[in-house]
Symmetry: C2
Subunit: 372 residues, 2 copies
């Protein structure tokens, strides 16, 4: 087998069918990720901002409005990135400046995503919602309904799905290069307290809907569903929070998923462990690994072993945020349904709820079909 | 932190306190592992045997007897390796040639280990029993009792415990270099049908006591217990056997263990998947990986990351089989208790039974203290 053939056209945008068009985006929420990653990728970065994020830019997006609870922050960011419009949340909800944008990017606390998406849908604006979609499967379904009823596109921000290495790995699995998938291992760990400290919404169960599973564990969960193109049928899990700062949310989680054809996924996530994120999948005929798997700033190495052949490939750097926004905009411009769409995230949330239920009850919890 | 300091004296035998002495060993069972790995390591290999196993030798062992159900095989192997005595199983049980050996190595089907170990104990001979110790925790306890009552040493053949890279990793964890252990991932997969085909005792549930978990899944299970110096308190698991050749045993297994201080182990094993065996452990301050983790013929690479520091180290090649037999003999010569002793394997078997029970019932199964 010529494994190298799978690495030709590695970073080609297999989804791109159009070359022109622009979608005007309003950022709803100016948290760290929006400021340090989204704005540089969408608006280009002025000098001296202190960010070392890559400056690769989107082709199909312009940021034309900023929505924030802090007028000072909004003005400062608007100046820095030359964004024409700033809005308070009240102004956004009242429809002010509605003609200045075509779509919104919803960031910020998970529990507020639904309200912002509903506002956007009511205003006829497309929605790119940060992961996880919301705090529960039911609220995720409500968001899907709101967007479908309004006829607007809903995409959820699983960056890794547009990362070329992840897409090539999915191609390899689809093509049967690994044989039948047998076992997936994936993890995402880090030190969440090192950034914003203990006083942040991610540690508030009402605003976050959960802990390490909701914030970082959803990455291997979503990735294995993406790679296998299948939804898990059952979950077994355990969570723990030995440290006081994490009271009320899972500091650590380990979960195991079963897929319809018999493959399993063994995943872990942590808010307080050495930073790392990788995945490995072994099949009957071969195996593949991605390192890092979910980090947005390092070029992932894709390692592939089939029988006695082994190749390791690091593709060109791709700014995943720019890629994600361009994919979203391209779906709008071509009237295509995005792949990590709202229903995809409903399935994630159903698995998340089964994982939490299993951790609480000690039972294997079956995962139902999405009801939407 | 000077991580390199942990790699000095990498392969030193931290267990060795004596320089002299010889233990005369009888091999009970002349299967593939005995012929291709044990005999070359203990007796040196004549030319033209077709084996490419390393020829590193034991320092403290001599093979002085061979026990086999096939006189022809026994004679042929005895000639090849210049072993003075061959015995049938009946002669072994009757105590013939009892003065020609001090200890026995018990290989062959798991369900026969107890009988052979009982015979050895009755004859006053020390026992090195291949892993897994037997087919159930109860039979493992019986073996422990038989050896303790007879005052003979019982060790179980978990080679990786004498592999320097595994021992150094345990030192690192003990010294707190990784902080508090958080999550372990380990797996051992391969194609068992490629060797002996479908007609082999490992696929007979009565002789093997189980499938992939019993034969290869016990490696990550035993390794995480060794590395954390702790026994798991609960198991969650799923097994499957989609292919007809594996009816009655687990072709694939995924299991998750909880440890008293909150660490988890996420493990998979398979009889029909691309060959691979690795482990990774992440802690609050660092992480480490071993690749391969359980294979006996490839020098493992130990990768260590603590904060922003990273080192990868491949130690000198050590013949694990020779190392294992020397450690066993050294324990006998110095009257020391071996580390993978019978009680250690009882704990493995209790975890194995909890894993199978969880896979069958879908419940989290608590693992009790060893009763011996």
């Amino acid at each position: 087998m010529d494994l190298d053939a799978h690495f030709e056209s590695f970073a080609a945008r297999d989804w791109q069918t159009a070359d022109e068009g622009t979608v005007r985006v309003a950022l709803v929420g100016l948290g760290e990720f929006s400021r340090d990653h989204v704005l540089p990728a969408l608006a280009g970065e002025a000098e001296g901002t202190g960010s070392d994020a890559p400056t690769d830019r989107t082709s199909f997006c312009d940021i034309t409005a900023l929505v924030s609870g802090s007028p000072e922050k909004a003005e400062s960011v608007a100046d820095r990135y030359d964004v024409g419009r700033t809005l308070s949340y009240e102004e956004f909800e009242a429809g002010e400046g509605v003609d200045s944008f075509d779509a919104v990017y919803v960031a910020g606390p998970n529990a507020l995503h639904l309200d912002h998406a509903r506002t956007a849908a009511r205003l006829g604006k497309h929605v790119l919602c940060e992961k996880p979609i919301e705090t529960s499967a039911e609220r995720a379904r409500e968001m899907v309904r709101a967007c479908e009823d309004a006829g607007v596109t809903l995409m959820v921000g699983y960056r890794p799905q547009v990362e070329p290495a992840m897409r090539r790995l999915r191609d390899l699995i689809r093509d049967g290069v690994l044989g039948d998938p047998v076992a997936f291992h994936g993890w995402f760990t880090g030190h969440i307290l090192d950034g914003a400290g203990p006083d942040q919404w991610r540690l508030d169960p009402d605003l976050a809907g959960g802990g390490a599973l909701m914030d970082v564990g959803v990455y291997p969960l979503n990735a294995v569903r993406f790679l296998l193109d299948a939804d898990p049928v059952a979950a077994q899990a355990t969570t723990s929070a030995p440290d006081a700062e994490f009271e009320g949310v899972d500091e650590h989680v380990a979960f195991q998923l079963e897929f319809p054809e018999g493959a399993t996924a063994s995943c872990t996530a942590s808010y307080r462990a050495q930073a790392d994120d990788r995945l490995r999948i072994v099949g009957t005929e071969g195996q593949a690994a991605l390192n890092p798997a979910f980090d947005s700033e390092i070029r992932p190495e894709l390692t592939l072993e089939v029988g006695d052949e082994r190749v390791a490939y690091t593709g060109p750097y791709v700014n995943e945020v720019a890629e994600e926004f361009d994919y979203f905009a391209h779906c709008i411009l071509t009237d295509a349904r995005p792949d990590p769409d709202g229903r995809d995230s409903v399935a994630d949330m159903e698995a998340v709820e089964a994982i939490y239920e299993s951790a609480e009850t000690g039972r294997r919890v079956e995962i139902g079909d999405a009801e939407t």
